[in-house]
Each structure stands twice: as C-alpha cells, then as structure tokens.
Amino acid sequence: MWTRVSDFDRMFTAMDQLRSRMNRLFWDFDRSYGNDYGWVVAEGAPRTNLYDVGNHFEIRAEVPGMTREDLNIRIQGNYLEISGTRKADAPEGYQAHRVERGAGSFTRSFTLPAEVDTEKAEASLKDGILTLSLPKSEAAKPKQITIN
C-alpha cells in the first residue's frame, strides 16, 4: 500500500515539474516582447521608484542616455516635477537598420506624501539612473516621543 502512495506521489511530482516548465515556456515567450521595459518617450515618462527613508524621500528614475544638462527638476512644497529631453543620438553617415529607442521630451509630476525641505534637496546621476534625495520638512519628520 505504501509503495503505491509513493508512486502516486512521484507522478504528482512529475506533473508539477511539467506544469512549472510549461509556465516558464510562456514566460520565455513573453520575454521576446520585452519592449515594455525599454525607454520609450511615447509611453509618457520614465519609470520611477519612491522610497521613504525616515528623514528623507528618495526618488529614482530611469533616464538612460540623458546627461545633467538634459534634465530639469523643480520642487515646491510637496510638488515635484521632473522634465527632460532625450536627444536622438543617431550617428552621422550611418544607415539605420533598427530604431527602437525613443527620443523626445517628457514631463512627469508627483505629489509627494509630505512637504520637503527644498533647500537641502540633492540630485545625482549615475549609469542612467537619476537619484533625488529630498529631506522632509521639520513638520513631516518622524518624531521620537519619550514616555514620562
């Protein structure tokens, strides 16, 4: 009897493996249409991440191929606006076989969860990722409360 159960079990294991392999098949198929992960201006604006790090917010945005001069950042209270232009970098005298990378300009605005201290805001650009560090205003910072 026990051996029979183990046979069933083995069969289910094999079926599980088959199922996960099938799932991966579709996943691999989708991969070839990875264009949604590319940077296309037509889609609107670069993707961003917002992290809340206690005393400050950190915003990261994908801006491949853009330099400091191409980007504009404006903050007012809890309103943030990132705009930029990506220039077409097609080389002179070449024949184009495939052009998937978009060029153009974008503007994206955000309402931050709290007001930020605009004076101390910092921005950096590395490997096509824009990182903004926005310290929260005094009122928005987390406070430690001591028990009397």
Partner: protein, 128 residues
Amino acid sequence: MSDKAELVKREETTPERSRRIPAVAPVVDIYENTDEILLYADMPGVAKDAISINVDNGKLTISGVRTVTATGAANWAEFGDVEYTRVFSVPQAIDVDKVNAELRDGVLKLHLPKSEAAKPRQIEIKAA
C-alpha cells in the same frame, strides 16, 4: 511516517531551478556604415562590471544585470532588478577581435568593425 520523510527527501534531490530576476530584452538601435555596425542598447542602472558581451559562433549576446537596492520603505516602485539580455546574429563579415564597447549614462554602445575583406572597394578601370 517513513513515507513522509521520503517525500521531503525527494523534493530536495530534484531541486527546481527558478530564475528570480526577470529577463527582458533591452531596446536597441542598429546602424551601419561602410566600416562598422554600431549598436546602441538602453540599459539604465547597469554598472560596467555587470555587463557581459559574447560573440560565439555568429551569435552576439549582450547581457547586463541591474540590482536596485531599496532604501527604506517603498511608496511605489515601477522598476526593479532586471537582467537585460538579447541575442543577435552577427554577419560573417565582422572582425570579432576588434569589437569594442563603451557604456555611458546607461547606454551601451557597441562597435562591430567589418573585416577588411568585407569592406566595399572601388575598382579602377585601367586604360588599356
């Protein structure tokens, strides 16, 4: 009971390898002139060390891994860890030894020079 133990054991002996990082094809531009083929690929956030470029048996594979280290709590996250990977067929005319790449602002630029034999040649007609 012994059966249960066996069940657990078997799962361990047949581990299922699963990729945790999603792989996507980066968007590319491909240009060509008489001297070379030029390839641009958008790979934002990929460091120089995390990129590998292989030319093997007429196949060019570019691959770059980006890891996004989250700091604090994410209010929203539209991008994350990703493996940019894409395979191209390279014509025979490419001089594989002279392929060179540069990475700037998250854009990979790959120069694929054509071998001397493949370059177009102007043939002069000699007066007889």
